[in-house]
Every structure is written in C-alpha cells, then in structure tokens.
Symmetry: C2
Subunit: 487 residues, 2 copies
C-alpha cells in the first residue's frame, strides 16, 4: 500500500478517543436560504446536479480513517481514492407544511445518525420543501477533521457576497480545516510503534500532572474569595450533567443583533454577558418547570477571546472561562449584573497571565475535563461546569449560495458525557442566531428553552425600559414567526 | 428492579450474536399506497396524527434489550415503560419529482441507519411526496423480534380488505412475532448464570457436531452424482460473497403475477423456478457487465415449503434448498430447464425425509452457515451458496390503510458477511413484487439488476412464444412506469 498516511495530532486524535455510540463527535452547520425571486422551478434540482458534478476532493474531504477499529488507539488518515459522492451528498425534503418544526425534526434525526467510519467523515444535505420558498443546507463533519470555527469558514467559502455569483465550488473541492494542513507522519512501522508507545506514556503521565496543576488553579481561585468567580468542579449536580444517550434534539432561536446590543449598552454589559443572561433566564425557567433547578447557581463553560497582558498587537488568544449563571437569582436585571461581574472577574484573571501562560492555563484548565471523558468518569463525577455556552462571530454581511440569500445560519454542536446541552450562537448580517443541541432523553421539550430565551430578551428590554425596536420582518417570515426550529 | 426479563431463545439470540455495525440484522417492509379519490389535503397529516395518538404498546414493540452492551453474550428483553413514540414513528418526505428513484434513495438510507439498542428495536416511517398521489410506509424491525413472514403478517394486521375501514390500530398497539409469545425466563441471577454457562458450552460443542453432520450431508449428496444438484460450499467465489460494509442499496421490480404464471405453465416449471430463472438471467447479465461472472454456475439458497413423506395433512414444513442457477448457460430456456431440474432434485431429496428429519436436516444444513457468521469466517471462506432468493406468499386481495389502497408491498431484507445480495419476492393482489437488498460498496448500480429482471421476463415470454398479456395500467402509473425504486 503506497497510500500516504497521516497520523492525527494528539488534540485531533482526542476527538476519536472520546467518540462513542452515545457521544459521536460530529459537528454541523445548518444554513437556511431563500430562493432568488426569479428562480426557475428546477433551481434546487439544478443546484444539486451542479454539486454532484464536482468530483474533486481536497483534504480533509478525501481523508478516511486507516483502521476504523483502531480509531481510539492510533488514529491515522489515508486518502480515499474511491469516494462515493452519492453517499456524502444527499438530497432530502420536509413533509408539509415544511415549517421550522419539520426542519427541526429532520435536523435532529440527521444529527443523531452516526457517521460511517469506513468513509471520509462528512455529509452534505440539501433540504427542500421549506415553506416560503426556502431551502436548507446541513453540513456535518467529524470534529477530528474540523473545529467549529473552521466549519463556519468552510461554509462561508462556498458562499459569495455577490448575489450574481454562480457555481461556486463546493467545500469538498476546496478543502479546509486542520487535517488539510497536516504534515505527513512517518509511515514506517517502527515510527508508528514509537508514536503508539509515546501516546500510551502520555496518558499514564497526564493524571498526576493534571491533578497538581488543577490543585493550583483551584487554590488560587479559592484564596481570592470572590463570590462571583465560579470554580471548576464546584458546579451543582443537575440533569444537564448526566451521561448522555445517542439521540439528539436541535432547536434554534434568532434575534436582531441590534436588540441584544441595545440591552448590553443599557446595562453596561458585553453582548456575551447579555447572551449568558438570556440563557440563564431560559434555563432557570425550564428547570423550574421540570422541577430540576439546583439550589446552587448553574455555571457555564464559555470560550472567550482575550488580549494577553504582554501582547501589544491586535492578536487575541482563545481561552476558556467558567461563568456563574446566577440561576438562583429571581430578578433578571440583578442576574445580568451578577453574570457581568462573574465574567469580568474571570477575564481579568486571564488577562493577568502572559500570552504563553494563557495557552497552558487553558490546557491545564480543560485537561481534567478531557481526562474525565477519557477515563469514562464524565457524567458520574461532579461536573466541571453545567453547560457550554459559546458565541462565535460570523459573517457581517449577507452571503449568497448560487444567488440564494442565506437568511440564517446555526451551529449544530456535539455533546459529551456529563454535558447534555450545548448552546452556541453565531452572528450573521445583523442577526444573532442560536443553536441548541441537546440529548434527546435528558431534555424533553427542549424547544421550550429556545422559546424562553426569546421571551427572556423581551423581559430584559422591559426591565431596562427599552422599547423593542422591531423592524418589520420581510413578508415571507411573518407567517409563522413565533415558531422556532425545534423538536 | 422489578421489570420482567425475558431471555431470548437461542434462535432469536443468534440474530443478536451476528448483529454488527456492518451487518445490522434489521428487516423491513415497504408498502406503497394511493390516496383515496376523495382524500382531503391533510389526509397524510391526519393519518400521522392518528398513529401518533396511539400510545399503547404490545409485545414485541414494548421490549428493549436489558443490557445493549451484552447483546452478544446473553441477550434478554425487558419492558420499556417510557417509550418515546416520536422516536419510533417518523414522518418523512421525498424531494421532487417524488418518483420511484427518490423513494429508492430514501429507503436505502433508512435501511442503512443502525437502530438504537437502548430502545425497542422498531421504526415506522410515513413517507409523503410520492408522485401520482401516493405515499409510502416503511416499517423496520430487528430480526430478533420478528421473522420475515411475521413482519408481513404484522403489516397486514394494520390493513383492511375494506376500503371504508378507518383508524385501524397501528401494529405497536396490537403486537406480533415470536417475542410476544415468549415465556418469562427465570430472572434471578443464579438462573441467568446457569443459562450463560449453558450457552457457552453449546458454542463449544457445536463445532464438531456440525462438522460431522455436514460431512454426512456432503458425502450423501456427492455420491448421488446428480450434475444439477448443487452442493453446499461448492459455490464459486464471486463478488456477491465478500464481506459486506454497513451501507445498503435497495431496488424493486414488479410484474403481474399472471405473466410469471404463464411462463411457468408454458415451460412446465413452478412459479418459483421461473423466479429463480429471472434472477439468474439478471445476475448473469449484471456480472458479465462488471466482468465478474464466475465460470462455474452461481448457486442460490432458497427457502422452500415441502410436504414431508409421513405427513398426510395439509401442513407444510419450511426447509431450505440450494439451487443451481446455471449462470454459465447462455440460452434462457435451457437455463430455466436446468434450474427446474436442480430444484426438483433438491426437493425430492427433502421429501424423502420424515417430518422430524426435515427440521433437523435444515438445522444441520444451515448450521455451518450460522457457524461461519459466529466465528467471523463468513466472507473469507468458500460461500455455502452465492445468493439468497426467496419467495414469500402475500395477501391475495387488495388491502387498504385507512382507505388508501396498497398498490405494492416489498420486503427489505438483511445481509450477512459473505452474502452481499438478497432477493425476496412477495405476491400481492395479482402482483409479483421483488425487493433487492444489496451491499452499497459491493453492488454499484444495483438498480440494473431490477431492470434486467424485468427484461428477462420479456425474453422468456418471447422464447416461449407467449404474447405478453399486459393489461393497460391505471393512468397514474404510466408516467414513469419503466423506472424502478432503486439506487
């Protein structure tokens, strides 16, 4: 076999280690498009035919696992020279009336289906039958191939700001992601054995190092005695932190970004703080209804972008904080105020670190979480935090897919044991789009979370005395505007 | 835990032993319905709502595996007291034009999706958007819950010969299958351990017994020196007998039963012989085209119904023969003649056995096949036969589903390693409906097999000088009548 082999880097390989039947490590993006005003009846058929005609595959779309059975031991990619595009590119339809509800049901199913580890780990679905002359694109990939931000970029690459642009190459012809830039690993057997031995050693050595580092973090945090600084592994037990099962629910919500900005401005908070407060309000209400709100406040793991203390450039570093969601506080404004204080403290702590420290701090901070997953303790031990909430900046201006305007885009995320809910928002063209990915068995009626997030924004607007500046929505959206993508 | 536990009988448990990611042991039935002439626009919506409202679950629809991880060790059912019907009952749609091709693509996907072993092992899909005012029902179950014939009966139970009958209870409210009648097994731990020990012993003991019994069968068969009697494990290697992968293709074909009967009558063969000859012609042509026709003739494993020598009643026994498909013979009539001779010899041999012998003969005959699967040799060793071809008698008269006439019904079958193709026919209301279930990677363009089977019937009719007595088809079928459900 002369096929080039690429051994996964440890961080990518980690996604394979923790990939199980119950926790498939697949991420996706859902984009909703409106047909061009002058679209012929066979617009979608022709679009699909165009996509299907492109049989060039760039990395990582041409990579498959060398030995699917050994994926957790020493995962390596090889190039697939016989890609069956009809497997990866799929044409689907919604039953009538083709509303956001039917779309939510289909996306929940598609995101619950496992991937075939004998093939390149991606799927692209074109979904027709969405009411009001719309259609959807659902693009799924394994997290070992692409991270969330890479996935968003990949989607953007098949879109154009120009409504007249046609037949842009599909993502599989262009390529993206970490795997694409990866160096070739030594492919001789000795080198592989050495890497295998090193990987085993690392796993044995990581536990004490992690315990020590974590002890340091916890001690330092505790000594500062800030009531709003949330501690790792000090989160209350909650239904959100059980072991998860294989089936997913997906729901969405979207606002005008300007409304969230206005609330942030009026309350002297960041947009991210307001987003956390909206999620906190929805979680509090949802958990109260199912009689499952812990007395202690829930905490959220939040990826943040920080400017390091020693960095004079505009360059940012991505790190991770734990925010106190103050779900024990009844008053929405007081809740927002305390959340703001919590994220402020956590970020201030991060910003005192030098640039090099932020990376290792983040690694050390997250290591016990990853370790819990690896050793199978996740969902059994005390959670590091209760829920992941992240906010990814997206494209600022409208984008088009062969002339079809993208109306919304939503991230569809992954879950792990102990983390039965993920809330990720992405901004796009003046909108704030939120995707809720949850464990089907843990979160019945999860769409209520999406509805409550919407009502939480109205509540904050009222409390702050802001008239909700609602622009009249385009006619095509008014029909069922309350209903959200949900199951 | 006070839940009643039912340990699976060995034959049902065997389906769990050989169930793997690549060989899910799931069977299904696809039924196509035409809407009643006076159907309101929301007919399907209302039908779905009715089905969804029935939240009573009879065995085996309420049974789930006690320990999915131990399914291959000591599978046992327990009652699921919290069945999430929205998981099992699914509403889907076809993209335009909603023809047989789009239906085939969807069924292939649905039949490739694994089941969730943490839930009762069944799914019921209502599929709208089929052109010419039709819709489809796809009902999937694990083979450990129901056999092929049981599945057909189950479908029939939700249908009525009366076009006026409405709101018949769905199958999950009525129940069916072997698991439903099963006695409760001892649930104390000691008894389970004893059964586990016994199961392990049986597996150790079976190998020499099977080898001896098989040797006897082979010797006896060989000594008779009949050139048309096909020998087990004497089949040629072929592409149909490699190890299979997880994805499936599904295709269909249907004729008027009268045409097949006329060919049978004119050639003094049985309907089953003609069916084998049609499959043989299609396989020969398909394999020639992909340059994969073995020099030696292919053989087929064929379930048959025989009347034992000592049985004066009308009661039949189900056994299994291996037929020589004579795919090395070019002339279609000569091929049919030789196939007839082959099945005649095999059945005559069976009929010389007493009733008790037929059962054990069948068991012994099939045991090495099952043993190959269990020890993982299937798809590596010489195949016992090349392809399974079966013909199941179905309902003789038209049936209705809440007033919607069933136009066709097709079996969707399972594959095992070494058996990449299954052809199963079912007769219904003067029709002969054939379902082809194949391994996606092994059988590219499998729909050609369906097309060639159709053309093989025309070829036999011409060779026998029978004018094809085609009744004018109803208007709604003429649009795309050549196109078959296929991917």
């Amino acid at each position: 076999m002369s096929r080039k082999m690429r051994i996964l880097k440890p961080l990518d390989a980690a996604w394979m280690y923790v990939d199980t039947v119950d926790t498939p490590m697949q991420v996706a993006c859902l984009a909703i498009f409106s047909l061009p005003a002058d679209a012929p009846d066979d617009f979608i058929k022709e679009l699909f035919a165009h996509l299907r005609s492109v049989q060039r595959f760039a990395p990582p779309f041409n990579l498959k696992l060398r030995s699917p059975r050994l994926k957790a031991l020493l995962p390596a990619w090889v190039e697939d020279e016989h890609i069956d595009l009809d497997y990866h590119l799929r044409h689907s339809a919604l039953p009538k009336p083709g509303g956001e509800r039917e779309l939510g049901v289909l996306i929940s199913r598609l995101h619950s289906h496992p991937m075939d580890f004998n093939r390149p780990l991606w799927e692209c679905h074109i979904i027709e039958g969405l009411e009001n002359n719309r259609f959807a694109l659902y693009m799924k990939m394994h997290h070992a191939l692409v991270d969330g931000i890479g996935g968003m970029r990949m989607l953007q690459r098949m879109l154009s700001p120009d409504p007249q642009a046609r037949t842009l190459p599909p993502p599989w012809a262009v390529g993206c992601g970490a795997a694409a830039q990866r160096d070739d690993a030594p492919s001789d057997f000795d080198a592989r054995l050495r890497q295998l031995a090193a990987a085993a050693r690392t796993q044995l050595e990581i536990a004490p190092a992690v315990a020590k580092a974590l002890g340091h973090v916890v001690r330092e945090t505790v000594q500062r005695h800030e009531p709003q600084e949330a501690l790792p592994f000090a989160a209350p037990h909650s239904v959100l932190n059980a072991r998860v099962s294989a089936q997913r629910r997906f729901a969405t919500q979207h606002y005008e970004l300007e409304r969230v900005r206005a609330v942030a401005k009026a309350s002297d908070a960041t947009l991210n703080d307001v987003f956390l407060a909206l999620c906190a309000a929805a979680l509090r209400r949802y958990l109260l209804e199912i009689d499952a709100l812990p007395e202690q406040p829930l905490t959220a793991g939040v990826p943040v972008s920080v400017r390091p203390a020693d960095d004079q450039n505009a360059g940012n570093a991505i790190s991770f904080i734990i925010a106190n969601l103050n779900t024990d506080v009844e008053d929405p404004l007081e809740r927002l105020r305390r959340i703001r204080e919590s994220t402020h403290l956590a970020k201030a702590h991060l910003q005192r670190l030098p640039k090099a420290g932020i990376d290792s701090y983040t690694m050390i901070f997250m290591a016990p979480f990853i370790l819990q997953l690896l050793v199978g303790l996740a969902g059994k031990a005390r959670p590091m935090f209760n829920v992941t909430i992240s906010n990814v900046p997206g494209p600022k201006h409208a984008l088009y897919f062969n002339g079809a305007r993208m109306e919304q885009m939503y991230p569809v995320s992954l879950l792990s044991h102990g983390q039965a809910l993920n809330i990720t928002a992405v901004s796009y063209d003046g909108q704030f789009n939120i995707g809720y990915t949850g464990c089907r068995d843990t979160l019945p009626s999860m769409q209520r979370l999406a509805v409550y997030t919407g009502e939480a924004l109205e509540e904050l607007e009222r409390a702050l005395g802001i008239a909700a500046r609602r622009q009249p929505e385009p006619a095509r959206k008014t029909a069922r505007k309350r209903e959200k993508v949900a199951v």
